[in-house]
Symmetry: C2
Subunit: 251 residues, 2 copies
DNA sequence: CCATCTTATATCCAACTAACGTATTAGTTA
DNA sequence: TAACTAATACGTTAGTTGGATATAAGATGG
């Protein structure tokens, strides 16, 4: 029996053009911080299916286009070329996730600095910001609200995708350098802590946080200080080059 | 310009049947422990491309088949139905990863207990065990050796896939319950420690390991003890039901 | 020019956690 | 019953974290 089946599989392997293929898409979780809360950029759907609901920007993967390139292209097309840290998240392949046809989507996390977030909004006015309710993340799927507090229902399985994105980010925040993707090149320790607190949805102990981060060895102090404050300005740091780590994809 | 491009993307979204689609496959990293070393099960390729090299068992995703179902089917077809813990790993989508045609593959980690490993070998004799060199894991791709010490060169990008699989496993081992997928239902603390040491490629402190594991609250002591030893038999534990955690996919 | 305000930065100590070495216990075998 | 092996328990030490406090630095207003 195993013989016959592997024969069938063998044929399929060598002539898959004879079989119907699922479509392959990428969807982007464009995530930034707005008012100290994790905020994603969504497109309102104006037609079936899920008309009126809000969806992650996405697009189909070209036949000669690598997955990462497709994600970068969607970022260009749908977010006006704003710079973002792109990272593959998970691939969603339930059969009925799109009622029109079979679509497998590779979800990407796209982290935006405050400047990139503003740039995306300016260049792509259709993108609507939605703040993610921190408490909803640990459940399987997330709830999102517009700036005026109105609920933004998400289309397809996108609420699950966003929940996974934030869970993943929370998990990696403390031991990896992803957090810096949400900050400008020069930042203060307080700003770094604000980012961590916004993502984790908690408050953190300041001296302990300082120590941990400085002990990590990631931070290079520039001699410079922030300006325009009415109090003692904090020193500006930048993410140091870390030659030891080249974690490659998927960690 | 953004307008014209999103128009094109819009059309693609609604009529993707007009565009060539990549094929979508799943590949399985069938991983067990053999002689205290992480060992994977491979199929030797007998024709172009990469003839003579060894490949992960895989198969194409059916048009009406969920990704997870495709992985389970490949497990049935290629490993004779051995039980395994399946978990999606990462999706590999470089354009030239298969010279025959464009294939995007969703890699799955399939963890086998010792019994399941033996069962797979018995029912699917074509599967060849290859031990993974622990030191090669942290580099981007892995080297694999047959039981007689001969190198087993891997086909396609499969060495990268295996490296990612073991890195992921190492990362999750301490804070998640994946490690138990490599053990039978009843096991001793020493066996659990052996699994951790094999995956991590290090030795661990015994009392510290015991305490950590017991403090996790995962382990249910059965009153039973192992038999057939020539020394003091250790107590048998089982993985307790943990109602609090339903981590869902992708963590 | 000085007092005062705010926040950054540094220091200190208590509490907790994790690691390691060592002692003890409980089986098996001879 | 003694010797052996490995499980289990204990205790000490080192390291890490959390909280509080003290000091420093710049801005502002009188």
């Amino acid at each position: 029996m195993s013989q016959a089946e592997s024969e069938a599989a063998f044929l399929a392997r060598y002539d898959p053009a004879d079989y119907a293929r699922p479509a392959v898409a990428v969807d982007l979780v464009l995530l930034g911080l707005s008012g100290g809360r994790p905020t994603i950029l969504l497109l309102k759907r104006d037609r079936h299916p899920h008309a009126g609901r809000h969806a992650l920007p996405g697009g189909f993967v070209g036949i000669d286009e690598a997955l990462d390139d497709a994600a970068a292209r969607v970022l260009r097309e749908k977010a006006g070329g704003a710079r973002a840290h792109l990272e593959q998240l998970y691939t969603f392949g339930a059969v009925e996730r799109d009622p029109r046809m079979r679509i497998i989507t590779v979800a990407y996390l796209a982290l935006l600095t405050e400047a990139a977030f503003a740039e995306a909004r300016a260049r792509a006015p259709a993108l609507l910001p939605g703040t993610v309710a921190a408490a909803s993340v640990e459940a399987g799927s997330v709830t999102v609200h517009a700036a005026d507090g109105a609920a933004l229902p998400l289309a397809f399985d996108h609420a699950e995708i966003v929940a996974l994105a934030i869970r993943r980010l929370r998990g990696k925040l403390d031991y990896s350098e992803v957090g810096f993707a949400l900050l400008p090149e020069l930042f203060t320790l307080r700003q770094l802590q604000d980012v961590h607190e916004a993502i984790l949805g908690t408050t953190l102990n300041k001296p302990a946080f300082r120590r941990r981060m400085l002990d990590r060895g990631w931070l290079d102090p520039t001699g410079r200080f922030e300006t325009g404050t009415s109090y003692r300005p904090a020193e500006l740091y930048r993410l140091g080059r870390t030659p030891s780590q080249t974690p490659a994809q998927g960690d």
